[in-house]
């Protein structure tokens, strides 16, 4: 009887299951198909300062800038470089002349044409000493700019410089409307005009920034959303609560601790990137006591990076042996690095001649994560017989004091760049402008100089491998980890893609049930 019932019910069940499966796959398919319309509310955890890209220094601002403006090049999810406002390009004169062929028919939001003159104007404005643009450094290699024709512009360089193109994929490459700027230069930062997928609509400082869809956007089919609104949230806790109530759809820059509350929430999707910012400790490499290589190595062995990763990032980070994470074309071969070994650390300290009980002052910026990191470092370094005093410094003045070399020993974090030169040169070349450790190794300088002047990726990688080896030996920084980082979004939000510079792009996202 039961068997018969089973035999009768089985096809029905199969049918139901098949229907259910068809249903879910239909839903899945829908989610893959972009839908037009809707407003994306983004939680924006840092007040924007200016929409004039040549003065932008805030991390968060760029989320908005990437919507209002286009860059000449763009960074793909695999960190390769793609053309954006540039259609194609070629190198002439042994790499000393870069010819850019521009997209045709692109218009700024004010209706004026985007053309070679506009590119020249934008780059020259950044290069102008009087403008004091933070991006000027990245463009000094450009000596002159020729407008070849309406859609072709050529950059004449002092020397071949491949990393220039990746700078043009970021802040230095945002193109603003010269006409709109010249109409009201003083207020341009409040009334931005670009060629981007969204048009600036309204900015209430401390509250929100609203953008409207650009109906005449030049990239076929884009964008999908009607509006993007960046809503100010003072911190991640508030951001998560607003996400839970559905008031906002998207929050970035969340740590593993931040996302605990929403980890199992069916209405919220979490998207982690394993390799986030590089966390390390830096010191004055050429000044006592850190000019002693054995002391540096003793501290490197004293750190239990796995434990730090476990406590700070719930084990989701990646322990680091250098500034470059695995998976990029210039990543060095895997190495054991400085494994946690208290005995070895103690032995190195004894050899170094630095007396036990020597006091090291570690700066403690008022950032929760950095402060926690400092606490752990203190505990672990004290275990080998040194004394660590934490020196509290306000977050807002911390970096300024690092630049002034008023802080000797401090935690640090950096985001990856699309080209190895972007980070390695500025941190480790003796002339690098973010070289705040005083690190100077003529061999490293030579390798970095050579690597930035050649175009062959394989050859460059070989040079960067050697740089990484030197860094491991010289320890201008003690590498700690690459932090895990999350974005969280409403389940109806689709089309998000991680770019390794960690800045969310919303141009190709959409909302659909």
């Amino acid at each position: 009887m039961l068997k018969a019932f089973g035999a009768r019910i089985a096809p029905l069940l199969t049918l139901l299951l098949a229907l259910a499966w068809a249903g879910t796959s239909a839903v899945a398919q829908n989610a893959e198909t972009p839908v037009r319309g809707g407003t994306l509310n983004v939680g924006f955890n840092d007040d924007a300062k200016t929409m004039d890209p040549i003065y932008s220094v805030q991390w968060s601002e760029r989320q908005i800038l990437f919507l209002i403006y286009n860059t000449l090049f763009r960074i793909a999810p695999d960190f390769s470089l793609e053309p954006e406002l540039v259609k194609s390009w070629e190198m002439e004169n042994d790499g000393k002349r870069v010819v850019l062929h521009l997209q045709e028919g692109v218009k700024f939001h004010d209706g004026t044409d985007f053309d070679a003159e506009a590119v020249k104007w934008n780059l020259e404005r950044r290069k102008d000493e009087k403008a004091n643009s933070p991006q000027r450094n990245q463009l000094t290699v450009i000596q002159t700019i020729d407008v070849v024709d309406k859609n072709t512009v050529a950059l004449n360089l002092e020397k071949p410089f491949p990393p220039l193109l990746s700078a043009l994929a970021d802040r230095a490459g945002f193109m603003v409307s010269p006409t709109a700027y010249e109409k009201n230069p003083e207020e341009f930062g409040n009334n931005p005009v670009g060629t981007g997928a969204f048009i600036f609509k309204e900015w209430v400082r401390g509250s929100h920034v609203k953008l409207d869809r650009n109906e005449n956007y030049w990239e076929e089919g884009l964008p999908y959303l009607d509006h993007v609104v960046f809503n100010d949230i003072s911190n991640a806790v508030i951001g998560i609560q607003r996400l839970m109530t559905g008031e906002i759809d998207f929050v970035a820059q969340l740590s593993p601790q931040d996302v605990r509350l929403i980890q199992n929430n069916p209405d919220i999707k979490l998207d982690p990137i394993k390799v986030g910012q590089w966390y390390s400790l830096q010191w004055h490499w050429n000044e006592p006591p850190f000019d002693n290589p054995k002391l540096r190595k003793a501290i490197a062995h004293a750190l239990d990076r796995n434990k730090i990763n476990e406590i700070l990032w719930a084990g989701t980070g990646t322990v680091s042996n250098g500034p470059t994470p695995p998976g990029l074309w210039w990543s060095p071969p895997a190495t054991d690095g400085y494994v946690y070994d208290v005995e070895k650390a103690k032995a190195l300290l004894a050899e170094s001649g630095v007396p036990a009980g020597t006091e090291l002052v570690l700066s403690a910026p008022t950032d929760n994560l950095l402060r926690q990191l400092d606490q752990l470092v203190k505990e672990q370094v004290e275990a080998i017989g040194l004394k660590v005093t934490l020196d509290p410094v306000a977050q807002s003045e911390w970096y300024a004091r690092v630049v002034d070399k008023k802080i000797n020993f401090t935690p640090m974090r950096w985001t990856q760049r699309a080209d190895p030169d972007g980070l390695l040169y500025i941190l480790f070349h003796s002339k690098g402008y973010a070289n705040t450790t005083g690190y100077s190794n003529p061999e490293v300088d030579r390798l970095l100089d050579e690597a930035r002047a050649i175009d062959d990726t394989a050859k460059r990688k070989a040079l960067y491998d050697q740089v990484h080896q030197h860094l491991l030996e010289d320890l201008p920084y003690v590498p700690v980890a690459f932090a895990a980082e999350f974005v969280a979004m409403n389940k109806d939000v689709h089309g998000f893609q991680w770019i390794p510079d960690l800045i969310p792009r919303f141009r190709a996202m959409w909302k659909a049930e």
Binding site: D47, K49, T50, D52, Y55, V57, E129, N132, P134, R136, N137, E186, E187, G189, N190, V204, R205, G206, S207, H208, N231, D232, I233, S234, V237, I238, Q241, R242, M244, T245, E247, A394, Q395, S396, E397, Y399, A400, R401, V403, D404, I426, Y433, A434
Partner: protein, 312 residues
Amino acid sequence: MITHIARRLLLMVPNVVLLTFILFAAVTNFLGSPAAIMLGQEASPEAIAALNAQYGFDRPVLVQYLDWMGNALQGDFGRSYANRTSVADAVLPAIPVTLELAFWAIALAVVAAALINSIPVLRKTIGTLVSGLSIVGITVPNFMIGISLIYLLSVQMRWLPTTGWVPWSQGVVPHLTHLIMPVLTLSAFYFGSFTLVYRAEYRAVYRQLFIKVARAKGLSETRVSFAHALPNSILPVITYVGLSLGQLVGGAVVTETVFSMPGVGRLFVNSIGTHDFPVMLAIGMLIIVGVMLMNLIADIVYTMVNPQIRLG
């Protein structure tokens, strides 16, 4: 009365000069030059030095201050370093937000403290509860109250929007719903302290002869309370409002930050983060002058409520 007000206003000038100078010296000394912040984490030392020279950050503090004060007296507060637009454009829209928040918070606290503690029935039934709430309002930090309210009323109950600000022009209801939690948060402390001050005075007044006379005349307990005890007990609260305006500024900073309100307090916090001296100083001056003026107003109101007190 008029001479008194004029004298008080004149006295404000040296006070404002002294306090703004202290503020100026403190921010330029402790925070250091804004050039490094303006140029970002990748600035070269040369670029920072050049910008320092261009903006005159390398001059002595006194010279920088006199320069700033001279312009400020002519109504020119300079341009914001962070976004390179005029300071007035940044600060003016923020003022009404903060004033409205502060007004509702103080009004709610004064009215609630006076009413709840004067209605005889309430005094008897929920007196202990109100005492407890007062202690909570005074001791629990502002941001804790704010975040708890958000969790309770927005996340759990879904009654109110979590944070943000909607101007009157976009609708009265959204404006008010966005305002409720910040006002409750900011008024919690004041409700607590006003209750304690008011109660102590109310009890003292209640023991006085004229209350007994009023009762003897056969007036109801409510009438006695509202017509006789309340007006005589409210005076110390008014003084207290005047004295606690400085704290109000601190409370507004925290409340505006928690609720993402585009007010002066939040602007101030943000300008500290970017070492935006022109904005910080303009807000500092606004707060200093504002608190002094409000104290003066509190004094005037005090004399109006109790004409026995003479201004001298």
